[in-house]
Amino acid sequence: MTVHSFQEHFDSLIDREIAIEPKDWMPDDYRKTLIRQISQHAHSEIIGMLPEGNWITRAPSLRRKAVLLAKVQDEAGHGLYLYSAAETLGISRDEMYDQLHTGKAKYSSIFNYPTLTWADMGAIGWLVDGAAIMNQVPLCRTSYGPYARAMVRVCKEESFHQRQGFEIMLTLSKGSEVQRKMAQDALNRWWWPSLMMFGPPDAESPNTESSVRWRIKRFTNDELRQKFVDVTVEQAKVLGLEIPDKDLKWNEERGHYDFGKINWAEFYNVIKGNGPCNKQRLDARRKAWEDGQWVRDAAMAHAAKRKERSATKAA
């Protein structure tokens, strides 16, 4: 087959919604786009453990602590599913870690904001995981098989994350005045960064067009953001909390909520590394990796020794 016919075969698989698998021929740009997207997603899961890890030891009850621990453990798992999906495209785990640790690879900018109060655990579960689910559900049908399968696992586990967050917000909003204020304050701080999680507006999103063509992406950033706003505004009413946007208004004609302008300058600034916690997050991640080096080396040495011993025994 010529490159041309390989391309034709690939396009026809995509058009017929047949999954692309690791050993199939694929265009270089498709492979590169997937490696970038899947590894960024994996990095986000791994860095995403840090803001919540901050509250594990200070959770207000044993139940909340067990739940938060399980959620953070799930995020580690999600990172691992995704790293191994990316590895099927020919990049090694160490290369991906290196890209994260040197700042070459990005992760979701939301995790560069601090978690100041317990209510932030509620707001993160409800809003950040809620936004993540909006993004992730369509990815269960993405064109690359290993990615789609990883996302099915992730999505199955993710809805508990959002529910536990909403439950924290509900408990606080029905609690004392101080607790209600704490919940409102968390919503105020996490609302806009959550909207930014869907990425830049479609007009400024350089990767959207080819990603939609390849069925890597199923909906555009703006479509998903609108969907999130419509759903979440109703949920805030149940909590009796106020969305911090004076321009938020139901638009009868569109059948959607109109909402205020997003501060994209802030978004790009955080991505560039100037968010409140960028340095802290990367330092924590690098330290964990470096401090764990002797454990990884010891495990390899132990495995080699045992292999040698059983070989001698057999001989």
């Binding site: 087959m1 698998e21 050993k23 199939d24 021929w25 399980a70 453990q73 799930d74 798992g77 691992l80 599913y81 191994s84 999906a85 590895e87 090694s92 785990r93 160490d94 290369e95 290196d98 399968r149 990883a150 696992r153 586990e157 080096q293 990884r296 080396d297 495990a299 390899m300 132990h302 495995a303 045992r306 292999k307």
Partner: protein, 100 residues
């Protein structure tokens, strides 16, 4: 950083297969890194069975998996493609014959 340095310490990659309940086949769940088989099974438990998804785990080092080439699919599966008589629907039976 050279690739050599990057991959020097990387634990080997393992493929994980999980039997979700007795009576069913082991099914590929995903992969993970581990220093040896024992660690691969323990890691597989933590990564792939946090919600009781399995009653049995197999791990195989990925380098030991041999796979067919999708580029050769046409010739590999060619012998079966013209043998529709292997399917029961190939045979016409009179309507009176039931339960066959």
């Amino acid at each position: 950083m050279t690739n050599d340095k990057l991959n020097k310490h990387e634990w080997p990659l393992w493929e994980v297969f999980i039997r979700s309940k007795a009576g069913l086949d082991h099914k590929h769940a995903g992969s993970l890194h581990a220093a040896d088989a024992e660690m691969a099974i323990e890691n597989a438990r933590d990564v792939y069975t946090r919600r009781m998804e399995g009653v049995s785990i197999w791990v195989v080092e990925s380098k030991n998996i041999h796979a067919s080439d999708p580029g050769e699919s046409a010739s590999l599966y060619d012998p079966a493609s013209d043998k529709i008589y292997r399917h029961p629907t190939f045979y016409d039976l009179p309507d009176e014959v039931k339960y066959m």
